[in-house]
Symmetry: C2
Subunit: 139 residues, 2 copies
Amino acid sequence: MTGIQGVDHIAVAVADLDAATALWRDRFGLEMGPREKIPDQGVEVQVMFAGPVRIELMRPLGPDSPVARFLEKKGPGIHHIALAVDDCGAAREAALADGGRPAGEGPVPGAGGTKVAFLHPASACGVLVEWVERTPEDS
Amino acid sequence: MTGIQGVDHIAVAVADLDAATALWRDRFGLEMGPREKIPDQGVEVQVMFAGPVRIELMRPLGPDSPVARFLEKKGPGIHHIALAVDDCGAAREAALADGGRPAGEGPVPGAGGTKVAFLHPASACGVLVEWVERTPEDS
């Protein structure tokens, strides 16, 4: 398998998006990016930048959001990491061929025109892993 | 505060380092890096590369290792993330001045000649954050 370009983002589940945004800006000096609601995933996301890597702070949009359940069970913390790939579908297929268990269907549309897919934490040392394929216009 | 260069690494706590290494190599296509024992931190680390970002797989060297306690409490998963900075001491001081709670002393020597320090998860949305300062020879 080829085509891993790097880490696209690290997603952190939080309850208070404004407080978390101020914290990562002021305490760590991250650069501010856009804020976006993604109803399909039940979250509002504040993008921050640590150099070229995004730190995505996510709050649940409602009690049925997977991120709401994550917060209830585990409290705030890292929700998933995303690998930047040049072909999301190929990356997912290769992982499934290696015995990996998918988390949901994929590739599906992600934020900002990306294609995304997820692998289940049971298939990656307890880590929920996303693949993100960006077109040049997205990045 | 300035001087965030990017994400240096994402550290994943695992029980079986050989199995985890094979998984992240074969299932995700990461590149192999060096393996190193760090007795001061009670871990053996396998460095993998997702483009320029390191994924550091860590196994405890013994039952008293903080990573052994992490595994016992939470199971395998992401243990911490590390921000690449040009001045580890200045980054730590700025976070403390902003009300952050340190995790241990710092800067202290890290793997491969780096300087490192940590901020407590209670001060960063449940995320244990490390700062890593590399000299050009380290990178």
